[in-house]
C-alpha cells in the first residue's frame, strides 16, 4: 500500500513545490505594479450615481439646480487659487470650440477674482456655479481642484477625473465614453 501511495504523492508534491516560487513571483509582480499607482488617485464613490441635488447661484447671479446641468456634458470644478486650473483652462476652451458642453463649478473662491479670471482667459462654461463655501463640492466628493465629471443625459455621473484635463486625459479617458453618449443622443 505504501508503495502505491508514495509514488503519486511524490509527483504531486514536486508540482506543489513549484507553486511556491511561482506565487512569490506573482506577488512581486502585483506589488511592483502597485508602485506605479498614483496614491492621490482616489476611487470615486459617485460614479454611476445621479448628480447631488443643489441650489446655487451662478457667477452671473442666476439660481440653478442640478436639473439645469444637461448632459452629455462636462462639469469642471475650478478655482482661481489653483495653478493646475490655469494650465487646463486653454484646453477647456479648445473642447468648447469642438462642441463639448462644459459647466463650471467655482469651488471655494473669491467671486470677483473668478469673474475676472473668465474675462481674462475666456469662458468655456455654459454657466459657472458659485460654490463659495464648498458644500456642493463635499456632496460631489471633491477633494481638490481641478476635477472634471462626465455627465450623461439622465444627469448621472459616468466618469470622474481628479487633476488636469488635457488632450491625453480627454482622448484616453473621456472621449471613448463621450462618443458613445453622443451617438445615443443623435
Amino acid at each position: 500500500m505504501s508503495k502505491q501511495n508514495s509514488l503519486p504523492n511524490k509527483k504531486g508534491r514536486s508540482k506543489v513545490i513549484w507553486l511556491v516560487p511561482l506565487s512569490f513571483v506573482a506577488l512581486l509582480a502585483i506589488l511592483y505594479q502597485g508602485l506605479s499607482n498614483d496614491p492621490r488617485e482616489l476611487p470615486s464613490a459617485l460614479v454611476g450615481k445621479p448628480l447631488p441635488e443643489f441650489a446655487l447661484k451662478t457667477l452671473a447671479g442666476q439660481e440653478m439646480s442640478q436639473q439645469n446641468i444637461v448632459g452629455p456634458a462636462l462639469l469642471n470644478v475650478w478655482a482661481t487659487w489653483c495653478p493646475t486650473c490655469r494650465e487646463e483652462h486653454e484646453y477647456l476652451n479648445t473642447l468648447k470650440a469642438e462642441g463639448v458642453v462644459i459647466y463650471g463649478l467655482n469651488y471655494k473662491d473669491d467671486l470677483t477674482a473668478a469673474k475676472q479670471w473668465l474675462v481674462d482667459l475666456g469662458t468655456p462654461y455654459q454657466f459657472t456655479l458659485a460654490d463659495a463655501d464648498g458644500q456642493v463640492g463635499i456632496d460631489l466628493g471633491v477633494y481638490g481642484a481641478p476635477e472634471t465629471f462626465l455627465i450623461n443625459a439622465r444627469g448621472e455621473i459616468l466618469l470622474r477625473h481628479a487633476g488636469e484635463m488635457n488632450e491625453t486625459v480627454w482622448s484616453e479617458k473621456f472621449e471613448p465614453i463621450y462618443k458613445q453618449l453622443d451617438e445615443v443622443e443623435t
Binding site: 476611487p43 464613490a45 459617485l46 463635499i138 460631489l140 466628493g141 477633494y143 481638490g144
Partner: protein, 179 residues
Amino acid sequence: MSSQQHHRHQGYLTKFICMLVFLAFSSILTLSHAVVEMHEFTDLEMESDYRALIAELRCPKCQNQNLSDSDAPLAKDLRKKVFDQLSDGKNRSEIKQYMIDRYGDFITYRPPLTAKTIVLWGLPWLIVILAIFIIWRRTRAMDMKTTLSVDEQAALTAVLAQNDANNSNARMADNKDEQ
C-alpha cells in the same frame, strides 16, 4: 568648597535651566500645531462622538492624516460637516455613511468588509493555514517513511546481507591482487 568647585556647580545649574527653558518652549511649539477650533457641544456624548469621528475619518486631500490632525481646508470643512450633522441629531454611523457615500471607503480608517477587503485580510490567514497544512503533511510523510513494513524490513535485510557479502568478496579480491 573651593571656589573652582563652586564655579563648576554654577555651570551645571545654568545648563540645567537652559534645558528646562528649551523643553518648555518646544512643548509650546508642539501644542501650537494641534488644530484649535471652538465648538459648543450640548453634551459629553456629542463631544466624544465628534472626537471619535474626526479620529476615524481620513482627510481625502491628505495622504495619511485623519480629520483631527489635518490643517487642510477640506479637513476643516469636513470637521464642520461632522459637527453640524451631530448638532442635527445624526448618529455616528449615519455620518460615517454620509462621508463614504461621497468620498468612498478611502475616507474611513475602518473600511467595511467587502470582496476586496476580505482578500486583503483573509489571504495572510489562508497562507498560514496552508503552510501549517503542508508542514503537517510532510512531517507525517517522513514519519511514515521511517517505519518499514515487514516485507520492506525483510528486503532491506536481504540487500544489506548481499552488500556485506559483496564487500567481503571484493576485499578478498583486493587482497589477492596485492599478493
